[in-house]
């Protein structure tokens, strides 16, 4: 079973604020799932290379040319920057990094 301290650490890594009740619920659920996946340890994988993807493609490259598919126009700019919840003109606004 995960400890309260471990759950607290995980919420920090995940950048998700949880209530005490949620912490307790997730502590139990995550522990259950982690117990289940422990069955992987039954397998000896000492000499096995990991498989990160299945295509066999290595280093996909393309010609170093200007692609016109996403030419920046006022319209595209608005579509992208326009969605930011806090902004000023063309700029994304973030809240203060340090507490006042």
């Amino acid at each position: 079973m995960l400890s309260d301290k471990e759950v607290e650490h995980i919420t920090q890594l995940a950048r998700i604020k949880l209530t005490e009740k949620e912490k307790d619920k997730f502590r139990k659920e995550l522990s259950l799932i982690l117990d289940y996946v422990k069955k992987l340890n039954e397998l000896d994988t000492e000499k096995i290379e990991p498989l990160y993807q299945t295509t066999g493609i290595v280093n996909a490259s393309r010609p170093d040319e200007y692609r016109k598919d996403f030419e920046m126009t006022e319209d595209l700019n608005e579509k992208l920057i326009g969605q930011t919840p806090h902004k000023e003109n063309r700029f994304v606004k973030v809240r203060s990094v340090l507490k006042k």
Partner: protein
Amino acid sequence: MKISKSLTIKDVAEGLRKNEFSAEEIFDHYQKKIKKENKKFNAYLSTFDMPKGNAGYNIQNELYGVPAAIKDNTLIDGTVCTAGSKILKNYISAYDATVIKKLRSSGASFLGKTNLDEFAMGTSTENSAFGPTKNPHDTSRVPGGSSGGSAAAVAADLAVFALGSDTGGSIRQPASFCGVVGLKPTYGRVSRHGLIAMASSLDQIGPITKNVYDAALVMNSISGHDDFDSTTAKKNVPDHTKNIEKNIKGLKVGVPKEFFREGLSAEVEEKVRSTMSKLESIGCNLVDISIPNFEYALAAYYVIVPSEVSANLSRFDGIRYGHSSKSADTLIDTYFESRAEGFGPESKRRIMLGAYALSSGYYDAYYLKAQKVRRLIKNDFDSAFKKVDIIVGPVSPTTAFKIGEKSSDPLALYLEDIYTVPVNLAGLPGISVPCGLGRESGLPVGFQMIGKQFDEETLLRAAYQLEQSLK
């Protein structure tokens, strides 16, 4: 114009050619049906008044005038794309996904966006922030997931075909529960550019259709290399319908002994076995095979997926787009509170699980270990495919379950994917073909067929021949 039957792509093409209806009329026909019936199923999250698409106004185009439904994790320029999440409730797509561009140029039109488990994480569509979708065969039951809205829309004839996405069974399992056809193509066959990423080493887009022939037609349109998705293979795409009528006499069909295990319901097993006999009766040779590491696939999957999820979903920070907390007053609180308010429980569960599995001190024990096991599973399939042409089995251990029946037990829901997950881990194509109704539940059962890497052609031909023989 009077249309009483459920239309396939072929039916629409024929109707247009014979001037029984125009492309506009058929679009309106479906829009009216959706307006009337969607309340019952909650299959669509949003609909379009005017056909979005139809750039290829040419009756020669394979999908000309065919109204389609699109899973709401796929971007259509200028329209809302929620991914089933509150965090993207008002998000407007800034461009078309590659599959959308391709369908447009094939002449298809888009009716709307379909419901899904939040960020495509789930097996019942109950994880959607916008309420569950209901199974058209029994509205007290789930349609499966995560592409539950797409499968329900096709099953209820609220679209001619739909696109879904499949990371561990999210096309095949809802297709199975709703009694329609669902194909997950080979990893690398269809571009995911414009698909909101869940687990990038597994995600794949594919069709949900009323029959196998339609799935082949949609594959002709959406397959192929894309500069915007570097995992797509630079391989030629065959015409998937060209050889589909050829019989499959002598086809070697592998039956893994591990598929018939504890947990497989009696009615599903019965249907799957009788379908295997059907294959034998049309000339296939059944071959006993083994996927020795089958029972470890789900455990590997539930390490790999949350890990990739935790990375992919880190982009939802409350700053560039999506929900942003109003109460936060520092940058760090913006992250913590926006994500707390915006994500549902399953997203939070997987992000945390992934963050843990990737964290310092645990990476080797979980993530690296799972990727090694993934290699073992791929090796199992590689050896099996030296002996056989396709592999068959169940799609899901059960038929559609009741809404709410399993939602309190995450692990029980994960087990729904036990037969579909290994196929994603090995990057293979898999299809769910309806094979009748379960004896006890009277609900649709899906038959899974798994093909060799990039051999959708043989897979679709086998599925088509089986479908014809089951008629």
